[in-house]
Assembly symmetry: C2
Homo-oligomer: 694 residues x 2
Amino acid sequence: MTAPDTTAVDPTAVDTSALRAVVDTSALRAVVDGRWATVREETRAQLAGQPGMRADPDFSSEAYRAHVTDALKLLTATGRAHSGFDPAVGGQGDVGGVVTAFAMLAYGDLSLLVKAGVQWGLFGGAVQVLGTERHHERYLRRIIDGELLGCFAMTESGHGSDVQHLHTTAVYDPATAEFVIDTPYPAARKEYIGNAARDGRMAVVFAQLVTGGVGHSADARSACASHGADARSACASHGVHAFLVPIRDADGNPAPGVTIGDDGRKAGLNGVDNGRLTFSGVRIPREDLLNRFADVAEDGTYSSSIDNETARFFTMLGTLVRGRISVAGGAGAAAEKALALAIRFGERRRQFANPATGEEIAVLDYLAHQRKLLPALATTYALHFTQDDLVARMHDIQAPGSGPVGAREQRTLEQSAAGIKAIATWHATATIQTCREACGGAGYLEENLLPALKADTDVFTTFEGDNTVLLQLLAKELLSDYGRTIKQGNPLKIAPLVGRQLAGVVAEHTGLSSLGRRLPGLRLDLTDRRRRRELLALRRADTLATAIRRLAPAMRSGNDEFAVFNASQDLLLVAARAHVDCLVEESFAAKLETVTDPGVRELLEKVYDLHVLSTIDRERAWYLETGRLTAAESRSIRPLVNGLCAELRPYAGTLVDGFGIPDTWLACPMLDDDAWAPAPGAPAAGVLEEVTTG
Amino acid sequence: MTAPDTTAVDPTAVDTSALRAVVDTSALRAVVDGRWATVREETRAQLAGQPGMRADPDFSSEAYRAHVTDALKLLTATGRAHSGFDPAVGGQGDVGGVVTAFAMLAYGDLSLLVKAGVQWGLFGGAVQVLGTERHHERYLRRIIDGELLGCFAMTESGHGSDVQHLHTTAVYDPATAEFVIDTPYPAARKEYIGNAARDGRMAVVFAQLVTGGVGHSADARSACASHGADARSACASHGVHAFLVPIRDADGNPAPGVTIGDDGRKAGLNGVDNGRLTFSGVRIPREDLLNRFADVAEDGTYSSSIDNETARFFTMLGTLVRGRISVAGGAGAAAEKALALAIRFGERRRQFANPATGEEIAVLDYLAHQRKLLPALATTYALHFTQDDLVARMHDIQAPGSGPVGAREQRTLEQSAAGIKAIATWHATATIQTCREACGGAGYLEENLLPALKADTDVFTTFEGDNTVLLQLLAKELLSDYGRTIKQGNPLKIAPLVGRQLAGVVAEHTGLSSLGRRLPGLRLDLTDRRRRRELLALRRADTLATAIRRLAPAMRSGNDEFAVFNASQDLLLVAARAHVDCLVEESFAAKLETVTDPGVRELLEKVYDLHVLSTIDRERAWYLETGRLTAAESRSIRPLVNGLCAELRPYAGTLVDGFGIPDTWLACPMLDDDAWAPAPGAPAAGVLEEVTTG
C-alpha cells in the first residue's frame, strides 16, 4: 500500500480498481478470518450455494415462517449445527467454530439465524449445559437433527430483565413424582418465545421451583415462590430452575393445560414464529427438571451443589453466555453487510458535477459521506476483532478438554460478553441506519437489502439482555471487582477515598501505565498512538472512580438505596461504556501485532487510528471537562479524522471486500453496474452554485 | 402546577393520575393546538371515527395498496383535501389548515399520509402552482375529488438531489404542436414515484425543455439538453419544466411509449404504490406544458417571465415548499405518537424491586429511562411550536389575499423549511428508535404500533430533499445572505476578514446581542435562561464565521473549487445545524410569551429549559473547544438536565396527553391495563444486588 499524498487529495482522480490491487486482498481476508478461517470458508461456500434461501420481501408471516423452517432443514444437512455440541452427543465440541458460523448467517437471512439460534443455541444449548446424561440421551440428538423443535421459555411479559424474579411456578408433587407448571397471572406468561407460535413441540421453561407446596392454592404457591426460601410456610421456594415441558402433541395441537398465543407480525424477523405460552396445571415427570446444578428427590427433598440461591441462578445463567456472544456476532456481520452495500453504492452513485471537470462526483468522495461511513467501518473492523477474541476466550473455557474454569475467568468472560453485546448491537443499529440513509431512496427498497437488515437486527439491542441493563450489570461488576481489589466485599461500603487517591487506585487496578496517570497535564499529541491509547485507559479509570466517589458516601449515610443508585445511573453507564471502549481498542491493537503483510498492516493501522480517534472524538466533551485534553488538542481531532477519511477512502472497497461476504448475498439492483451506464452528456455545474434538491 | 421538591424526589411515590389533574390539560391542549386549533379538533374527530382505517400489519403489498386507495376515498369525503386549494377552483385557500391536518394523519396510517401528499400536495399542488387556468379548469377539480389520481415525477434514479440536471427530455415538435418526452438512458428513469405502480393515470413530469431539436437523434437532443442554452446547435435547451403526461389509459394499461415498473416492497409505506416511469417518444399536446412561468408558442418560440434559467428553476421549485413543510409536520406527529406510546408504557411497566419497599419500580422512574425519553419529549415540543410557526409563515405568504411576496421573505421561508425538515425528520427517526427500544420486546411487535411508525417515517430523512443536502443548501444560503449583507455578490470572493472582526460582522448580521459577543469570557450561569439563549446565538454566529473563514481564502487562491468546498463540508453542516437550533429555540420562546395559564406556563418553561439545555449538552464539546464554556460550567449541565428530568417525570403523561392523539390510534396491547394486573406476591430485591438479565 502506498500512502496517498494527503496534501493534495483529489478523490475524483482515484481509480478504485487499481488501488484495490495495491493491498493483497487475500492477505487481508486471512487477517479478518482469524482463528476460524476454515469454518468461515466453509460457511461462505455453503451460503454462496444457497441463494434460493433469500426470502421474498412480500411474504406473509405464514409463508415466511414456512420458508425459514425449510431453510433450517437445509442447514441441518450441512452438519454445522452438530459441530458445537459435545463429542459425547455426536458433536465436535467446536464451540468457537459454531458461533463464528452462526454469526455469518447474518450475511443471508436473519430470520434463519435467529431460528437456528433458538433451536440449537438456546433450546439445545440449555438441554446440554443445564441437563444431564438422561436428557442428552433422550433429546439431544433429535434436537441437533431438527426432529424435535423447541423453545427457550425464559422471558415473561412482566419480567424481561429481572429474570431471577420471574413468576412462573413449578411445584413438586411427591404423590405422582411430577412438577406442576403454572402461570399465576397474565403478566407472568412466557413472551416473545421463538418457535412457540408454530413449530415448537417442547420448551425449556424457567420457573420458580417450589417443594412442599401441593395442596396450597395457586396464589399461595406463587406467594411462596415470590418470597423465596425464607418464607415461613409449609412450602419452600428454591429459585429459578429449568424444566422440559411438552407444549404440543405430535399433531401440533397444544398440550393439555398449555395455551399458545402468537406474537403476530413484528418489526422484523418475521420468519421466526414468536409466541406466548401460558401454563395451567401442566404436569411433567420429575426427571424433566434439567438437573445439572440441582435436583429434587422422589420424596421432594431438594439438593444442589451450590448452596446460595443467587449464586446458583447466576451459575445457570452463566452457562448460557454463548447466546449473548452469538447475538453480538450476528450484529457485527449485519453491520459488515450494510457497509458493503452502502460503500459499493457510494462508489457508483454520482451526484453534482465537479466544476473543474464537468464530471459528476461519486458520493463517497464527499467528506460528509465519508464521515458517515468510514468511522463506522473502522469501528466495525474493531468490533470484528473484539468479537473474535471473545469467541476464542469462550471456546478456550467451554470446549471439551478445557481445564477447570476459574470463577474469575468465567466472570470476566460474562462481563465482556455483556458489554460487547450492548456496544456491538447499538453500533449495528446505528450503522445500518446510516447506511440506509447513505443510499437514499434506493436504500429504502427491500430489493436493495438494507431494509431487512435494519428491521431484523433492531431487536438485538433489547433481547438477550436489554443493552442498558447489560451495561448496568457490567458497571456493577466493575464496582465489585474494585471492591475485591481493595479487599472489601461491597465497594459501596468502603471508606471513601477522595480525588487523586481513588483515581490512582482505580488506575492501578485497571492497568493504566504510570505516564498517563501521573502527568495528566502533559501535552498529548493525538497523532501518537500510545498517547491515544492512554486517553482511553484514563477515561476508563476516571469514570469508574467518579461513579464510586458518587455512590460510596451516599450509600454509607443511610440514604434510600434506589434513590442513590438512580442518581448515579448515568455515571454507571458511562463507566461501563468506557470500559468496553478499552476492550475494543485492546483487541484491535493486539490483532495488529499479529499482522505480517506490510500492506495489510499499514492499511489496518490507519483503520485502527480512525477507530480510536473517532472514539475520542465522540467523548471529547468529557476529555475537555476533565482537563485531559486542551481545547487546542480537542480541535485537532477534526482535521485528523478528516485526513484519515481521505486516506482510507480509496481503500473503502477493499476493506468491505475483506469481510468476504458472498457476492450472491450482496447482489441487488442498486449495485447493478448496467443501471449506472453513463449519461450521453454530463452537465457541468459548480457544487456551491448548484446545490439543489427535490 | 406545584413544582416538585427536587431536594428529595421520590419518584416511586408519585401518583401519576393525581398529578395530571394539577395542570389544566385543556389549557395545555389549547396552547399546543395553536392557530389551527379548529382544524385540529375536526381532524381528531375524523381520525377517531376511522379506527377501521388501521392496516393489518400482515397485509401483502397488494392488499395494503388497495386498503390505502380506499382510505383515500374516505378522506376525500371529509372535504379536507379541498380546503387547501384556491377558492377559484372550489377550495378554501386554507393553506395552513390543510398542512396541519395532513401532518395529523401521521397519528393514523403513514401510508395514507404519503398517498394523500402525493395526490393533493405534490400532483395537485404542482398543477395549481405551476399550471394556469386551462390546467386548473381541465384537471384540478377531478384531482381534488380523487377521480384523477396522479404522480409527481421529478426524481430520477441517477438524479435525486441534483434535480436541476435531471436528464428526461421534452422536445417540442412544431409540426404537430406537441412535446416528445424521452428517457435517454437507464439512470434517467423516474424513480420512487408515488401512485405510479398501481393507481396513477397521469404524471407531472419534470424534464429538460428543448426547442428546435426535432430531427436530431435522441442522443443529440439529450446532449443539447445537458449542455444548456449555450450549446451551439440547431436546438436550444431551456432547463427543467413540468409537463402533464398521461401514463395509463382508462382501463389502467400503460399509455403508449410509457414503461411502468414497480418499486416493490419497501422498508415501510407499503400502502403506497411507488414505481418507475420510462418514456420513449411519448407525445403530449403543447398545452400540457404547465406554463405559469414559461411557455412555448406554436412555432416553437420559447418565452418566460424569468430570463435566468437557474432563477426560473428555483422559482418553480420554491412554489413547492409546501411538500417539505408537510414532511416535517408528519415527522413531528409521528414522534409525538411514539413518545405517547413509550411514556405510557414506561408508566405501566415495572422492573426490579425497590429494596426499601419491595415494590417493583416503574421503568420511567429510572434516570436512564428518563434521559432517553424526556429530553426527546422536550425537543418534540420545541419542534411542534417551530413547525406551527413555519406553517403560519407559509400560510401568510401563500394564502389567497396575501400581499405581494418579497424575494427575501420567500427565500427565508425556503431556508427555514429546508433546515427544519432536516432536523425534524432526523429527530423523528432517532426518537422513534429510542421509543422502540424503551419498550423492549413489546416495542418490536407490530400490534404495539411502534414498528410501523419507525419503518414508515424512515424515508423522511432522505425524501423531499436528502437531509444532508438540505443542510448544505441552507448553509450555502446563509453564506450568500452574509455576502449580500456586506454588499458583495459572492461571499467566497470577499476580502478576508479575520478573527474577531469577521465574527463581529456575522454576529451583528445574525442579530446577536452585544453582551454575548463582547464578553466571551463572562461566566455564563446555565440556570439563566437569557444566557443559555445567547449561547445558542453565539454558536450560530461563530460556526458561520468559521465556515466563511475557511472557505474564503481558499477560494480566492485559485484552488480547485470542489476540493475547497469538500474540505469544509462538515463545517458548513455544523453552521446550518446551529442556525436551525436557534430557529427552534426562538419559536419555543415566542410561544411561551403567549401562554397565559400559569400552570401550563410553568410546565412549558421547564420543557423549554430541558430542550435548550439538552441542545447545549449535545454541543458542549464545541462550547468547550471555543472557550465559550468553562469545564466547570460544562460539568454543571448534567445535574441540571437530570434535575429537570426528575421534575418533569410526573408530568410526562400530561405532556403526551397534550398532543391530543385520538385514543383509538394509541390503543394497543402493551397499554392494556388488564395485562398489567399485579402479581399475587411481589419479590423484594435490591437494585444494585440483583441486576440480572436474560
